[in-house]
C-alpha cells in the first residue's frame, strides 16, 4: 500500500503527531512522482538545488521549492498524460486569470475522502429532511463556477425538503431573489425541519442587514445550521469580524454560534479546512501549513503574520505538493484553542498588498490600453 493511500484513508483527521512520519513519506512519494513526470517541476527543483533526500524530518518540509498560486496560472504543469485526468476545476481567479486544476482518479478519490472524513468528524450528515437557503446561484447549464458546485455538494449531505436560491435563473439571466428568500425564511421558521444556510459570508451579511432593516427576527428550528464557504477575503473591505457575523446570525435567525461553520479549501489544494467548535481552522493530518516571513520567506513562529504556504501530497496529477499563496495568515499552537484538537490552527488575514496603493505612476493595464496592437 502506498504511503499516500495510507495517509488519505487515515481515519483520525486530527492526529498529526501520530502521522508525522507517514506524512513525510507520502510527501517524498508524491515528490518523486512529480519529479519524474513533470519536466518543468524537475527543472524548478534542480535549479533551486533541492534534492528529495534533504527531507529527513517533518521540519524539513519548508525546504521544498514551493510553486506560487500565480505561477500555476501561467503554466499548466501535468505529471500524468491528459487522458488520465477525470475532472477539471477552475479556481475563481483574481484579475480574470484562473488556474485550471485537473485531477486523476486517485487524487479525485483522495479529495473526496478528505471531505467525507471531515463531514463525518463534524457530524454534518443528517437523515432528517432539511430546508435549504442557498445564497448563491441556482444551478443552470450556463454556470460552471466551482463555488456553485460545492454549494450543491454541501446540500447533498442531508436530504433536501425544499431549496430556495438567492440568485434565480430567469429568462433575463440571473436575478436577485430577495423576496423569495425572506418568504422562505419566514415559512421555514414555522416548520419543524431544520434549515441549512449555505453561501459566502458577504451574501449572508447582506441578507442579515436586509432582515434587520425590515425588523424581521425568527427562531429557526433546532439543529439548523449556517455554513460559509470561505470568501472572507472579498469581505475584508466591509470590515466585519466573523464573531460579529455569528452574533447577528444568532440574534436574527436564532441559530447559535455553535451551529455556524466556516470552511475553506482551494481547487489547487483540495484539503478541506473546517472550523472547530471554537471557530478555528485546525490543520488536519492531510496537510501542513507553513507561515513564511514576509521578506525572507523563512518559516516564522506561531503568532507571527506571513505568507501562507500550503503543503499536501494529495494531488498526483499536478505538482502542487507545496504552494505559496498570496494570502497572509498566522498560525497558532493548537493546544491554545481548548476544543481538544491539538494540531495547530491557521487564521487567514486576506490578500497581500493594499487595495488603494498610493501611486500616480501608470500601471500595466493602462499601458497596454495605450498601445494599439
Amino acid at each position: 500500500m502506498s504511503y499516500r493511500r495510507k495517509l488519505f484513508t487515515y481515519g483520525k483527521m486530527n492526529d498529526s503527531a501520530g502521522t508525522e512520519q507517514l506524512f513525510l513519506l507520502a510527501m517524498k512519494e508524491n515528490l518523486h512522482c512529480h519529479y519524474k513526470n513533470s519536466e518543468e517541476y524537475r527543472r524548478i527543483l534542480d535549479a533551486r538545488g533541492f534534492s528529495i533526500r534533504q527531507l529527513e524530518t517533518i521540519e524539513d518540509l519548508h525546504k521544498i521549492p514551493a510553486l506560487t498560486t500565480l505561477f500555476i496560472k501561467s503554466h499548466q504543469l501535468f505529471s500524468v498524460p491528459s487522458r488520465k485526468i477525470i475532472t477539471k476545476a477552475t479556481s475563481s481567479g483574481t484579475n480574470g486569470r484562473k488556474s485550471v486544476v485537473g485531477l486523476d482518479i486517485q487524487s479525485g478519490y483522495y479529495a473526496l475522502r478528505v471531505v467525507l472524513t471531515s463531514f463525518f468528524h463534524y457530524k454534518l450528515f443528517s437523515i432528517r429532511p432539511t430546508n435549504y437557503i442557498i445564497l448563491g446561484y441556482e444551478p443552470h447549464s450556463s454556470n460552471k463556477i466551482s463555488t456553485a458546485k460545492s454549494a450543491r455538494g454541501l446540500a447533498m449531505i442531508a436530504p433536501a425538503r425544499h431549496k430556495e436560491y438567492a440568485l434565480k435563473y430567469t429568462k433575463n439571466g440571473y436575478e436577485l431573489n430577495q423576496e423569495g428568500i425572506i418568504e422562505a425564511i419566514l415559512r421555514y421558521s414555522k416548520q419543524r425541519s431544520p434549515v441549512r444556510f449555505i453561501g459566502f459570508p458577504s451574501y449572508m451579511y447582506f441578507l442579515l442587514k436586509t432582515l434587520q432593516e425590515k425588523n424581521i427576527k425568527v427562531k429557526l428550528p433546532p439543529k439548523s445550521k449556517v455554513f460559509f464557504g470561505g470568501g472572507w477575503k472579498q469581505f475584508f473591505a466591509e470590515s466585519i469580524e466573523k464573531k460579529d457575523l455569528y452574533k447577528m446570525v444568532e440574534e436574527i435567525l436564532g441559530v447559535p454560534k455553535e451551529d455556524c461553520m466556516d470552511f475553506f479549501g482551494a481547487v489547487e489544494h483540495p484539503v478541506l479546512y473546517c472550523e472547530c467548535p471554537n471557530h478555528h481552522f485546525h490543520i488536519p493530518v492531510y496537510s501542513r501549513v507553513i507561515i513564511r516571513d514576509s521578506k525572507t520567506l523563512q518559516p516564522v513562529e506561531f503568532g507571527q503574520v506571513g505568507l501562507v504556504n500550503l503543503i499536501s501530497p494529495l494531488i498526483s496529477s499536478m505538482p502542487f505538493s507545496s504552494l505559496i499563496t498570496d494570502d497572509l495568515g498566522v498560525m497558532f499552537d493548537g493546544s491554545k484553542c481548548g476544543c481538544g484538537i491539538t494540531t495547530p490552527f491557521v487564521e487567514l488575514l486576506g490578500r497581500v498588498g493594499v487595495q488603494n496603493l498610493k501611486t500616480c505612476s501608470v500601471n500595466a493595464e493602462e499601458l497596454l490600453g495605450g498601445v494599439s496592437h
Binding site: T68, F71, D326, V362, E366, L367
Partner: protein, 428 residues
C-alpha cells in the same frame, strides 16, 4: 471631511448645502471676483507657518515617515511662498496676466481688449496618489480665480481639508471659493450634481478614473485631465558614471517608484545583453547602498506582495530569458525585450536594451503615458537624444537625482495648469 464656508460640517448639513449650492455659487460669481494677489498673500502667510510642529504631527499621523514629512513641509514652504507663486503666475499666464491688454491686430480697424479670466467653477476629483495633492490642486484653481469644489480621495486622511481651512482662516475672503465634499465617487447623484455645477472638471487619476469621468460629464462641461504617467532613465555608455547612477538609485529609493515621475526602469543605449548584465551587477550594489541610506518601513501587506511577486518571478525566470539580481532590500531585472513597462515598485527596477536608433519606434506608441526621462549621457550626445525623446512624447528630461523634484513655473505633464484653468476673453 466636509469643509464649507470655512467650517467643517457634518454629512446632513452637507446634503442640505448641496441642494442650495447653485445659488451660493451664483452669489459668489456676482461679486467682484478673486484677485491673484489675495491668494498669493494668504499662501505666503501659510508658507511661513507650515513648518511648524502641528503639521509635522498630522503628516506622521497619516503614516508618513518623519524624514519624508519634514521634506514635504520644506517643499510646501517653498511652493506656497510669494516668490514661487508670483513667478509661477508670470510664467504660466504671461507678464501682464492681471491686466486688460489692448491689442491692435492686423486686418482689423478697432482695438481689441483682451483679459485672462477664470473658467468659473472647477470641480477637482483627486486621487490619493500624492499627499496633499488635492489642496495643491485647489490652490492652483484659486490662483486662476476660480471657485473650487473638491472631492477628496477616500484615503486622503483629511490633510488637504486642514490646509485649506488654515488658508481660509488667514484670508476669510477665500471661504466662498473653497468647498470640500466627502462624497464617495460611487454616490452618483451627488457626483452628478457637482459635475453639472462646474465649468470644468479637473480629474487626477488613472485611465479608469478618467474614463468613468468622461462618461459622466456632459459635453457642455470641460474636462481637464491629469492622468497617470510613466518615467524611466536612459543611459549611454558615456553617461554611466557612478555619480549619475547614484542619482537614479536615490530617486528609486526616495519615491519607492510610486510617483508619475519616479524611475520605473533603465534603458541602455546598446544591443548587447552582456552590457545589460554587467550593468545590473554594478547597479544592484549602488541601489542597495542607497536603500540602506533611505529607510522606509513598508507595511506587511506591501512587503509580502513584493516578496511573493519576486519569488514568483524567480520561478518564471527559469522558463524565460530574463535574469533577476537580488539584494537585501531591492532587485534589478535584466530583460531581453524592449517594452516600456511599470516596475513592481518599491525598489525593484528593470533594465533593458534600447539603441538610440530605436527610441522613436519603441517609445512613441506610449505617447501620452510618458513623462520624465533621466538622461545620462555626454554633453556631445545630449541635444540629439533630447530632440528624439521629445518626439516620442516625453515631456521632461533631467538627471536621475532631480526626476521627482520640480521648479517654479514648471509645466505639469507638458502643460501649464494655470492656463488650463483660465480662458482668454475679449471685447471689441
Amino acid at each position: 471631511m466636509n469643509l464649507i464656508n470655512g467650517k467643517f460640517v457634518n454629512q446632513e448639513e452637507c446634503d442640505q448645502i448641496l441642494l442650495e449650492l447653485d445659488s451660493h455659487i451664483q452669489k459668489t460669481l456676482s461679486n467682484s471676483g478673486l484677485t491673484p494677489g489675495i491668494v498669493v498673500d494668504a499662501c505666503d502667510k501659510l508658507s511661513k507657518s507650515i513648518n511648524q510642529q502641528n503639521y509635522l504631527e498630522s503628516l506622521i499621523e497619516i503614516g508618513i515617515p518623519v524624514d519624508l514629512a519634514k521634506e514635504y513641509l520644506s517643499e510646501a514652504e517653498i511652493k506656497l511662498s510669494r516668490k514661487f507663486l508670483e513667478y509661477k503666475l508670470r510664467t504660466e499666464l504671461g507678464e501682464n496676466f492681471n491686466q486688460t491688454r489692448k491689442k491692435n491686430p492686423p486686418f482689423q480697424k478697432e482695438d481689441v481688449i483682451e483679459h485672462t479670466a477664470p473658467l468659473g467653477v472647477l470641480f477637482h476629483i483627486t486621487a490619493g496618489n500624492v499627499d496633499a495633492l488635492p489642496a495643491m490642486s485647489a490652490i492652483e484653481g484659486l490662483l486662476a480665480g476660480n471657485i473650487n469644489i473638491l472631492k477628496l480621495p477616500h484615503e486622503e486622511g483629511g490633510l488637504s481639508a486642514k490646509i485649506l481651512k488654515e488658508l481660509i482662516e488667514i484670508e476669510p475672503a477665500l471661504a466662498e471659493y473653497i468647498y470640500v465634499f466627502d462624497y464617495s465617487s460611487k454616490d452618483i447623484t451627488a457626483m452628478g450634481k457637482l459635475v453639472d455645477l462646474a465649468d470644468a472638471v479637473v480629474v487626477w487619476g488613472g485611465d479608469n478614473a478618467i474614463q468613468s469621468i468622461r462618461k459622466m460629464v456632459h459635453p457642455n462641461t470641460k474636462i481637464i485631465e491629469w492622468g497617470h504617467k510613466l518615467s524611466f532613465a536612459y543611459i549611454t555608455k558615456d553617461g554611466m558614471t557612478n555619480e549619475n547612477l547614484r542619482g537614479i538609485a536615490r530617486n528609486i529609493c526616495e519615491t519607492n517608484q510610486l510617483l508619475c515621475n519616479s524611475c520605473q526602469g533603465i534603458f541602455i543605449d546598446t544591443e548587447d545583453m552582456d552590457v545589460i548584465n554587467q550593468f545590473c551587477e554594478r547597479f544592484i550594489q549602488l541601489l542597495e547602498d542607497e536603500s540602506k541610506k533611505v529607510q522606509r518601513e513598508l507595511g506587511i501587506g506591501i512587503q509580502s506582495q513584493i516578496t511573493f511577486q519576486l519569488y514568483n518571478n524567480e520561478l518564471e525566470s527559469l522558463f524565460s530569458d530574463f535574469k533577476i539580481y537580488r539584494s537585501e532590500n531591492c532587485s534589478v531585472t535584466a530583460y531581453t525585450d524592449m517594452k516600456v513597462e511599470p516596475s513592481i515598485k518599491f525598489r525593484n527596477c528593470w533594465v533593458k536594451r534600447l539603441p538610440q536608433h530605436k527610441l522613436l519606434e519603441i517609445l512613441r506608441p506610449h505617447k501620452n503615458h510618458l513623462q520624465t526621462v533621466a538622461l545620462l549621457c555626454s554633453e556631445k550626445e545630449k541635444m540629439n537624444i533630447v530632440e528624439t525623446l521629445w518626439r516620442t512624447g516625453v515631456v521632461r528630461i533631467t538627471s536621475g537625482l532631480k526626476m521627482s523634484s520640480t521648479y517654479a513655473g514648471a509645466a505639469h505633464d507638458g502643460e501649464y495648469p494655470l492656463r488650463r484653468y483660465t480662458k482668454i476673453v475679449s471685447v471689441e
